[in-house]
Symmetry: none
Subunit: 224 residues, 4 copies
């Protein structure tokens, strides 16, 4: 029985090696410029072997991206695990996303491909499903916290948690894209500090989502 398990482990390990090699190459070159030959070289495997483990280049790309989702999920999880007020947890959430963006820019970029199904030409249904499930975890986690905020009277009731989650993610994402693509343009030509905008936007949005009561407390926390 040990044999089967060992085989299984080796297989998983091989899959991992391929993923490592692909990560390296995709980070350096992006989906389009990277070639399966390069990845095979980096993995020290034949090209054919790559296709034993991943059905297409795009599947492999999404395989790497999924690691990014895992990382982001872990960061979100840690942000929620610290016992803190719900308000503080919400802030941790935002900060976690920003931190992910700063420390895992390469993974962040891969999300674009996942977001835009127009670019998917060869993604297998399995991989699509896998990514979707993986991605769903993120939204579930976020929604859970936001629901707690609503229940505690911290967050407005006229917006569903998923709506708030969407707004928060959407707002951050939009600014992050600009940072990633054109930070220098904004800074040098327009004189806009996008890093600051990102924080500011999150801050404003949080305020907007709070109930009036919560906002009142927030603004005069040291009264009394």
């Amino acid at each position: 029985m040990g044999i089967h398990e060992r085989k299984e482990r080796e297989k998983e390990q091989r899959r991992e090696e391929i993923l490592q090699a692909a990560t390296k190459v995709f980070f350096e070159k992006g989906l389009q410029v990277a070639t399966m030959d390069e990845i095979a070289d980096a993995a020290e495997l034949s090209k054919g072997t790559l296709y034993l483990y991943y059905k297409s280049k795009e599947d492999l790309y999404l395989g790497v991206m999924s690691i990014g989702i895992d990382i982001l999920y872990d960061m979100f999880l840690k942000a929620t695990e610290r016992t803190a007020s719900t308000l503080e947890t919400l802030r941790s959430f935002s900060r976690a996303f920003v931190e992910f963006f700063r420390t895992h820019r390469d993974y962040y970029r891969m999300f674009h491909f996942f977001q835009n199904p127009q670019l998917h030409k060869q993604v297998s249904d399995e991989m699509k499903e896998y990514c979707r499930t993986n991605n769903q975890k993120l939204w579930d986690l976020a929604t859970k916290i936001l629901q707690r905020g609503v229940d505690e009277g911290l967050l407005r009731k006229d917006l569903a948690p998923i709506e708030m989650a969407f707004l928060v993610w959407s707002t951050s994402n939009s600014i992050m894209m600009q940072i990633d693509f054109q930070e220098m343009h904004w800074r040098n030509h327009i004189g806009l500090d996008l890093d600051h905008m990102l924080e500011k936007a999150n801050e404003l949005l949080l305020e907007t989502l709070l109930t009036e009561d919560a906002r009142a407390k927030l603004e005069r926390p040291t009264v009394a």
Copy 2:
């Protein structure tokens, strides 16, 4: 002297014909799938001639996109020209962007390419500069209105007009991207109406940008 002018006019006209043909083809197929052959066919010109007027396929693509910017600019201009309160003008602005998104989806999509320099491989500096200048007009217009809002005490003073402009554009853009790419996913799997989210987000953001006074008036418009 008439000769030179006629030549100039003919040249401009030819450039325009190419743009028309490119518009048709790019709208149908997108940047990657469209070929210079198809565009040449549509323009009833030889492929070589295309390169006399545009330095690369990507330049041509951005040439088409610029028309989209012009259209959006005109829509913005009309939104400001109606003599109305500044507040109403701000709302018109938002609505104009949404309307542009709805009625000129093809152009809207092209903006992504412009936004993402990772996709630029062959864009000439001239075209880049041209687009930037063209684009700048949009921001100047928006900033002007927002400055007026600040001056009138309608909008908060702790955010620069350009910052507000960025936030407004950024928020809309992020949601529009989702509508364009994954509207069905959000609607069917998550149960989220992104069209509604777009309106809601703009509304919330506007409120956030108002001064407290302005917001107070807004919320009780029928006092007196």
Copy 3:
């Protein structure tokens, strides 16, 4: 000694299972499109095992084809076994081939591959020999009948039985190929009914092969 025999039997059975699976796949897809993976799947065996029993894909293909030869042989045999006049037996022979063509088109098609050594890239000498031997049985059977016809004064003496056999087979085969490849072309564009041509050609050839006496009797069978 029983052990060895059982092993032998199991081996033969395994070989047979592989053949069944290959038959199914080759019939559906043809030599080129079919893959060893598919056959292995169909046989519920690993790809490696296939190579324990057949040296190459082409060998396996010829293995299947040989079954077709066996079937044809049986049909020929039955055609000869009915106690009938030699003339009638000859006709039965022709009809048997036509019937084989009609009812076992898949096998018939495989004969082409066997016929055309240009297509053989990986056929083992053993398989080649096996097919040749198997094939030889057909010719021997046919030659035997024809020899009887010659002996009886039914068939001309200026042609060797093997020559007649070759002519008969060759004539039918050529028309069958056209039926298989281009029946519709001939019917729709040329207005030629190849099925009828096949019968007619066989009929004419038979007449040609008969001695004058035999032909005379044939034409006036009801004299006296």
Copy 4:
């Protein structure tokens, strides 16, 4: 006006050069083994240029084959042009085909690909049509002669000229295939001289197609 014509001539010449190169390579290697790279090398042109003149490898293959059809047509034409009796013309026809087979074996082989549309994967409709038309000329020519034979009372009336044409071609073709594929097998293992069979078969078939009168004259040509 000279310019256009010269261009046209050069283009035709280039097409011809490609055909020459392709002929050389296809003759040596066959359709499957030959590569477009080799042909491009042989033509001293880039691979891309090949595709300016021929839509696919298979089209190019059929382009070469068409030359073979032209050659055969010319040989048939010459066979009919000699003022001779219709009977002699018919014999010339058969001999012409055999001579083509002997002197242009490479072209003959290419006919198989044309015959078997199952092998056509990338043939353009234009090329298909061109080949069909070209091929049709052969059949028209043959049918014309046969019709003359019927009109003169030389050939049986119970078979349409096209049916006779089919039988003649079919009979020869079948034997030629065997000569091409397995001549040695037949000679060495079976002791059959296929060259002789080819002549014999044609001879027998011709007799079969003659009217009884014509055959009678044929058999006793020196009576009286």
